[in-house]
Symmetry: C2
Subunit: 215 residues, 2 copies
């Protein structure tokens, strides 16, 4: 028989940090930041409060920012999509992953994007803006555009904001309509707003045509 595992397994610094961040993310995902205490994080990770402080001497603010950065990394991975197949299918798959993320981090996602939280600072805002920028760059790069004009950039960024708004309302409304419908609807809106811009902008017109034709 092997002896019982000690209550405090000896972890490397990196492992311990990851364990604490995971515990924090789990809590921040489903509760507003003001409703999560460092005691909660210590309890969820099965460690003492002083240990949490040893890793995050800046307390909750530092832990929140680290957790947010880790969530932002995860969210950005949603946008990684192989460059093969029709563009709208790629967009659908990326949206599927993004919406699954929203589903999994519901309350934390809302708290973060709705602002006014006690832990919101220019740094947390910059992290969220970084995700938005990454999303826009991914879309433009899949569209094969290296020098997007003003009207095209505006259209893509407006649609990304509309997707965020849709995610928040979706959470508010008890996760209705079903994710598959929401995804298809958002893709249709993308085509529609791009088509509107196409009538005002030759660069967008070329893309809109490519978007709706096969491959």
């Amino acid at each position: 028989m092997t002896p019982a595992a000690p209550a405090y397994r000896r972890l490397s610094v990196e492992e311990r940090r990851t364990q604490l961040l995971d515990a924090a993310l789990g809590l921040f995902a489903h509760r507003a930041p003001e409703d999560v205490s460092l005691d909660d994080v210590a309890e969820a990770a099965g460690v003492s409060r002083p240990l949490v402080y040893r890793y995050f001497p800046g307390g909750k603010q530092q832990l929140y920012e680290a957790a947010l950065r880790s969530a932002a990394d995860e969210l950005q991975q949603c946008f990684d999509e192989p460059r093969e197949g029709p563009l709208l299918i790629r967009l659908s798959r990326a949206l599927d992953r993004y919406l699954a993320f929203v589903d999994q981090h519901d309350a934390g996602f809302s708290a973060l994007l709705q602002g006014g939280s006690v832990v919101e600072t220019s740094r947390t805002t910059a992290i969220v803006d970084g995700v938005r920028r990454a999303a826009a760059e991914h879309i433009l790069s899949h569209l094969g555009v290296t020098e997007p004009g003003l009207r095209l950039r505006m259209t893509v960024r407006m649609w990304i904001t509309a997707v965020e708004a849709a995610s928040l309302i979706w959470l508010d409304e008890g996760k209705q309509p079903p994710l598959d419908e929401l995804r298809d609807w958002l893709v249709e809106q993308f085509v529609a707003v791009l088509t509107v811009t196409a009538a005002r902008d030759p660069q967008t017109a070329t893309l809109a045509q490519a978007l709706t034709s096969p491959i």
Copy 2:
């Protein structure tokens, strides 16, 4: 000859409050809240710092919230539009007023909506959300809808968020494209997203038809 006006004209409490708020609004309109001090406000209003504190004992935070509330009232007045003439013309006129407001309060508008400001709190967020809600209610009421379904509500709110995003990008991009073009483009996007939703939602389908047909 009339005597020169005294340096400190005797104002009523209400007049003085309005004067201080106007001065604050003028400063907050073109600078981020962190770059405005109470000394600046006192100087702009031509009064002493203690006088500003007498009216706003909570200091900059209180003054900022009061100025924001006053700007929010002004912004909501943009949405007041007589119920006559084609719906899209009414929407254009309301957008004209809204975009003029954005133009006049450029830096303050950006700072407020981009978040992460030191003076942002759950109260300031609530004020901004109130304006968004009012905008959605105005649109639905002009559309003659008293019980909007989920898909229609989502569509209207997504478009309002997209308009906000467009305003911020417009300010970022040195106020390009010209306001008239931006207004027409936003109206076209409204029709486009409503048309997309119409294919999924009978309530929206009826409205989309009424929207594009002459009264």
